[in-house]
Amino acid sequence: MNYLLEVKNLYKSFTLHLIDGRTITPVCDVSFSVAAGEHLLIHGRSGMGKTSILKCIYRTYVPTSGTIWFQSHQFGRIDLSRADERIIIDLREREIGFCSQFLRVLPRVSALDTICEPLYRQGLDRTAAQEIGREWLRRLGIAAELWQASPMTFSGGEQQRINLGRAFIARPRLLLLDEPTASLDETTKQVVINMIRAAQREGTAIISVSHDLTGLGVYADRQWTFPSR
């Protein structure tokens, strides 16, 4: 089978220089693969290193050892754990999306501009980008009177939706979602699940970390329980 992403024997350790150089290893010999259009859901106890796996793939964390093979449109088969930073930046702009649990954006920038940011980065014209941005805000159920307000003033659930919109809007081929439905009501949760399914139909591979086994979990193609230590 041709996988879009293959993680092999991944280890991630942190050396805490400020606490006597102590080392902790949250990710220990992890291997899995995901095909295009597939949704893998990772669940397990908090603090076990589930998010660390997503961050290693996105290269926010530098993997200690192991390989992360990604089948890129632009660069062919490439090991994300060792790829040049410039390649990672390019992949983040066009092929790999990440939605974290927290929204970190510039204050005083409108929700519309915030959600359009990935498109601006790609060099899309402002009017065209905002057209797409409005469509996503509508789909995510953000009231139109909030579009010009800063998401920093939004509720937790609204911020989460903006965060999801920013990840989906660039139509990446691999989407990494960290607790995508954690602070959403049932209706919005269903909207997000539909978004995920629509992205899957377009061939996007999804890796989500979630405790929501009865909601999101039902729709995942595969579930993987992250082992407790």
């Binding site: 926010t60 530098v62 970190r104």
Partner: protein, 279 residues
Amino acid sequence: MSEQWLLRVEQLEKHFGPGCPVCRQLTGPTTGRSRCPRCGTVWACVDVNLQLHAGEVLGIVGESGSGKSTLLQMIYLALRPDSGHIWYRESDGQLRDLTTLNRYEARLFQNTHLGIVYQRPELGLNMRFSVGGNVAEKLLLAEWRHFGRIRVRTSELMNKTELLPERIDDEPTTFSGGMLQRVQIARALASHPTILLLDEVTSGLDVSVQARVLDLLRRIQWTDRITMLLVSHDLGVVRQLARRTIVMKNGHIVEAGLTDQILEDPQHPYTQLLVSSAL
């Protein structure tokens, strides 16, 4: 990843003082000193290597006195390095070593290819000239000669930096801190530079003005695809603007990487201290 590097800094060094045979052993990040205790020489930049790619924003972080501004000044050709090279790729692909330019060539290069914005507006602006005069001065230095075109370009820049064009003839002293930073940005961008150097541009501004200046810089970067080198000790500013970041300590680069990696998975003990100290 089509863009090649635009600017490449190779083994750049700058020290202030006479130097002595043990200077290098007694200074640097492992000793925690930039100043040699034996001869008093300050080693501001030692063996600095970096590449700046077209259209990217590179952040430089580090505590005060780590050599960030000295590095920026050398790249701005305002300070001559003791050794090393600063390579610049011209639009026709030719490489130029900027450290070999004579004073006239350096000044012309500065005025046509580079723009700088300082933390303190009085360093970047002539406070006795009008705002329009400050922007026009940069254009005159870049060998623009047509008064009408200079005036049009100045108004254009004031619009772009969200300044009221009707205040073109007002003196900088009548402007607020945030507005003065925008005047500096307008001046820096006047002659369509390829590289914009930003030295602690938002330090000292109140938070709401800070956000506005950052938003402006981000928009300029997206629309004009201008390359920026951003020096800041505010990690939040760097997170918002820069994709890659280098960390300096006692004149040396101790770590370089993707900005989110530097902030969330710092490898060097100093970077861990820096990140854990941020509010």
